[in-house]
Subunit: 636 residues, 2 copies
């Protein structure tokens, strides 16, 4: 029996001797690598915080103490130690446990995460509630250095620091470069500081400060000297002390002894503390240590070698086609600049970044800034292409509206991962974009039905003088050949792809393929469905849609998006505005609920965005003919 | 002829002698006070930056150099100096000039602002475009201390600082308390530093630093001592130096000589510089100096005394009713906590703040943090009421979705200023909220038709176990008596307020009154319209709406909101989902464009959200009867 096998709750962990913990860490790592090699997942981040997770649960009493994992993809060790060891092999599978902390999954998960930089705000909220209720307990926000680039993290620190509340922020730093000379400081801090000793030191510093030379004309010189020397040694702390956090660290995030010692000390401090921990992404698994970017979020792989097990997909992904198109279009169009929010790989922009370093901007996890920054560039004649996943673009909603649309700046939004994304689940599905972009004046919205259309729409967007979004899905394209020479798709125009007299299937984006399959099935049952590839959600191709809606009298819209406010809703609005009250309609899309994690195709089927779902909806609208006639026959 | 009369462009300003500038400042102040006393506007902020504005235009060459005014309500002096002197009396009036910088209004406005904290990102974008094009020119972002609490400002600084680009950020600080001992530093800086001298100093500091004691075991002590002494003297700079900006200041923002000197020096620096300017809100107009909060945004007043000229409205505002209700409900319900984003007065929460200081949280201009913070409190059993204007809530869209709705946390959103807000114009109208909230699973949305309904809906919200929004407008209520004892309005239920057989008018929120007037007019023309007060946008009162839609066969929805994705769209979705394809519909709301500034009532009329607009739409849907019958008669 392994040590891990004995741990059902963090209470069991506390029964182990400190000397057993490195062995436990090895077992946890092995377990994580084993499951992720089969299921895919966020490997490198989780491996990097194994010791930190053990130390936190060894010292604190979760769930009495609350831990909020920022982003949350690093919480695998936390899941293994908090009652989910046996469920862990179901990680990210349909019906299995989530790849992120989830309040509804476990009482040990204090806050559901997925998007970056929320842990300080949530933790501060929990601290305030605790204090109002007069209760106790440590609140611990664990945030990565990358997440700190998000503005909401700063907003949270800015409020939490001066509050003097009992709130511990652990900065898990695996990238920021730290000058070598702070290493000595680190072990000094971790080993010998008790809470009492910290208090004494504070007093000493106060005295030392008072003994400093009196202020006078040379104050600037003195301050400047002090500042420079200060910056040379303790830069990371400077920022956090400005936010009124007691700053401790940096400390080695893989040294269990040090981690436990310092957390024991911090446990006694009843105020805002920031503990700076240095860790290594992918720690303990050589392939991940060597290539942490690849192993950040990874598909199934061979455990021994780290080699991918995924069969090479037949077709390039939409993301790849976008990336390649950006490079070739940017060759001839010097106005093109690319903006990503910390996802050059994810959005397919690595080649662009290498080829056009001066026109490539990674703004960090800062979608708000990224969009307004792009608007600024657009005022000067650039053609910014902002490539952000649908779910993360939600962060920049006000900036899209206020800084881009209001002045009709020609910013192109490459909205990747539109629709269901699969295993990352409800925090990451891109199901709201059409609804939140549609009401914005001046905004145009397209969705390609295949990768060649994506390429052509990028040209359409570059020709367009105003904000425009291209929404495309995660994963492989349809295998359609990409024709570099193909002209832009005409603005505001859809295409009839199949004629039919009984019914109109109105598809947007990748739902076109499903609609074509459904039309085939319907045809076998004697129903002739026309199919339109709408291409534009805004503006809709009014003439084309009205013509075929009028011809058939029955319309089914299909989208991989919430039903409320989406593409289908736009079509209903069109019919109403045109005074067409005699069209029977049905909308296929996501009902008013969040969608779980699991394989994308399985989720689509469950949500009825499938051939069967479309066929069913088709029969439903066709069935309405009778009642329409009957009611109208009543003389109304 | 005054000095101001001679200035049509900043070029004219440069012809003045420095000694004439204080006189010009007085004339500008007088002009601003004069116009704002008649038109209302943002007085205190604009008075605070008169000298800074003069100095910037005296030293730099706008529009070759670009100035971005953060928030923009302080740009009145800028408007007076950049060709809008004669138009200035039309400030904020219908068809007149905007109260904010507006690219479409003037080539001197480099970026349209209105919402806070965007100037650094936009300015950095402009800097990058300039550098890509190989052009010159200073980019100047002028940002207030309040705006710095917004996360996007931090995201912008975080990227701009390390870039080494030629970007000047001027921090206009009128609130942050600065230790007295930096005053000496300020004048020292402003008077004697040439760019060359700054360079020399830098070199000296480098040498001094190298001469510091070698690092060893006592490094922590040394660093700590250094840090403490450093913090005691130059705290404001510390933060900005951490962002790699060259920090200069603080400097007196009303001393033209110093301002011009330091800006001349900065003009020569080709890198990120942050100039910290101290100013006084309301400077030069005694009533505004005495009460800067009141004179931040103010209605018409008597110039001599500052006394309000506005007739006391007959009815309390929705905001006031909300504020009072919060106090009385919080007496008996200890779970209630209130969150505002830097607007305790604007959202009516000052009395709550005074009565329940431990349960009141002003998070600064940090809507994202405010919402996630509230979610954190909700996890611990609190009932957070987040009071944020509709237009600013756009900033927290992702947090509403991801941190509140996903886990169904019972956070109450008091969405003030829903609908047209009037003189603040397109950046501030709250016209998107229903559309962006509606697709969010678990979210309920209400809008009261009068102030008593607002009070009752607050009770409904407190009883509801999940996220819920109450959307209410700017300005006075209907005068309906507020009944403290009235029970909560039933969840998901609307009310029939007028019977009628020919047509159904479906009202949400304050459009109820307009619908009732329209029904009266229609009745005089022989058409009997039923009127429903929907109260809930989500969930819709399905039974009530379907019953009366079925009875009348003709439905007009009315909302002070974009037509795309709003309340009317929800009603169309309902009809489609229920298979009702025989209802003639029309939606009254805002078409697909931004709405200008002007009096709210005038704007409503222009947008057709008026008795006339509803009557017209009613005749339009009634006219459809024929074609429906005819088409249906064709046997389809
Ligand atoms: Mg990191
Ligand atoms: Mg201020």
């Amino acid at each position: 029996m392994t040590l891990l096998d004995q741990i059902d709750t963090p209470e069991d962990l506390k029964k182990l001797d400190r000397s057993q913990l490195p062995q436990l860490a090895r077992e946890i790592r092995d377990n994580i690598v084993d499951v992720v090699s089969k299921n895919g997942g966020h490997l490198a981040s989780s491996l990097g915080v194994v010791e930190l997770t053990i130390a936190v649960h060894y010292v604190f009493d979760v769930p009495f103490d609350k831990v909020i994992w920022d982003v949350g993809h690093q919480a695998y060790a936390h899941k293994l130690l908090t009652g989910r060891r046996e469920a862990f092999p179901t990680l990210r599978t349909l019906g299995g446990i989530s790849g992120f902390p989830k309040v509804s999954e476990s009482p040990y998960d204090a806050f559901t995460t997925g998007h970056s930089s929320t842990s300080v705000s949530a933790g501060y909220g929990i601290s305030c509630a605790r204090d109002i209720k007069g209760e106790d307990g440590k609140v611990i926000s664990i945030i990565g250095d990358g997440s700190l680039t998000g503005g909401i993290a700063y907003e949270g620190l800015n409020q939490s620091g001066p509050s003097s509340r009992n709130h511990l922020v652990i900065l898990n730093d695996n990238e920021m470069s730290i000058a070598k000379n702070v290493g000595a400081l680190s072990s000094f801090l971790s080993r010998t500081f008790s809470a009492k000793y910290l208090q004494d030191l504070k007093g000493e510093f106060k005295k030392a400060m008072k003994a400093l030379p009196k202020v006078g004309d040379d104050i600037y010189q003195f301050a400047k000297k002090t500042e420079e020397s200060f910056k040379a040694f303790v830069t990371p702390g400077m920022l956090f002390e400005a936010f009124k956090f007691e700053y401790l660290g940096p400390i080695d995030g893989h040294n269990l002894e040090h981690l436990i010692d310092i957390l024991e000390n911090i446990k006694k401090l009843n105020k805002p503390v920031l503990l700076h921990v240095m860790s290594k992404k992918g720690m303990g698994y050589a392939p991940a240590e060597a290539n942490p970017v690849y192993f950040h979020g990874v598909g199934a792989f061979e455990k021994e070698t780290g080699n991918s097990m995924k069969a090479k997909p037949k077709a390039p992904s939409y993301t790849e086609v976008f990336g390649k198109s950006m490079v070739s279009l940017a060759e001839s169009d010097k106005r093109i600049v690319a903006v990503t929010a910390a996802m050059p790989e994810g959005t397919g922009l690595t080649e662009f970044a290498a080829r056009f370093p001066d026109r490539f901007f990674d703004v960090g996890i800062a979608e708000q800034h990224g969009v307004t920054f792009a608007a600024g560039m657009a005022t000067e004649g650039m053609k910014p292409v902002v490539a952000i996943y649908s779910t993360f673009l939600q962060r920049a909603y006000d900036q899209i509206l206020h800084d881009v649309c209001l002045d009709r700046h020609p910013v192109i939004f490459a909205v990747d991962r539109g629709g269901l994304v699969g295993e990352d689940g409800p925090t990451h599905h891109g199901l709201f974009d059409l609804a939140y972009l549609r009401p914005l004046p001046n905004m145009a919205i397209m969705a390609p039905a295949d990768e060649n259309e994506l390429r052509r729409m990028l040209k359409t967007a570059l020709d367009h003088d105003g904000p425009i979004a291209i929404r495309y899905p995660r994963g492989a394209g349809t295998g359609t050949a990409v024709d570099e020479a193909a002209p832009p798709l005409p603005f505001g125009k859809g295409a009839l792809v199949r004629e039919g007299k009984d019914l109109l299937l109105l598809a947007i984006g990748t739902s076109l393929a499903t609609c074509m399959e459904a039309a085939e099935q319907l045809s076998q049952r004697g129903i002739e469905a026309a199919v339109i590839n709408a291409r534009f959600v805004k503006p809709l191709d009014k003439d084309l849609i009205l013509t075929w809606a009028g011809t058939t009298g029955h319309v089914v819209t299909v989208e991989e998006h919430m039903k409320a406010g989406g593409f289908g809703s736009a079509v209903l609005e069109l019919f109403s505005d045109e005074g067409l009250s005699n069209i029977a309609t049905a909308r296929v899309g996501i009902e008013d609920h969040f969608v779980e994690h699991g394989p994308r195709e399985a989720l689509c089927r469950r949500q009825g965005i499938s051939t069967e779902g479309i066929v069913e909806a088709s029969f439903r609208v066709l069935g309405q003919t009778q009642s329409v006639t009957t009611l109208a026959g009543d003389g109304r």
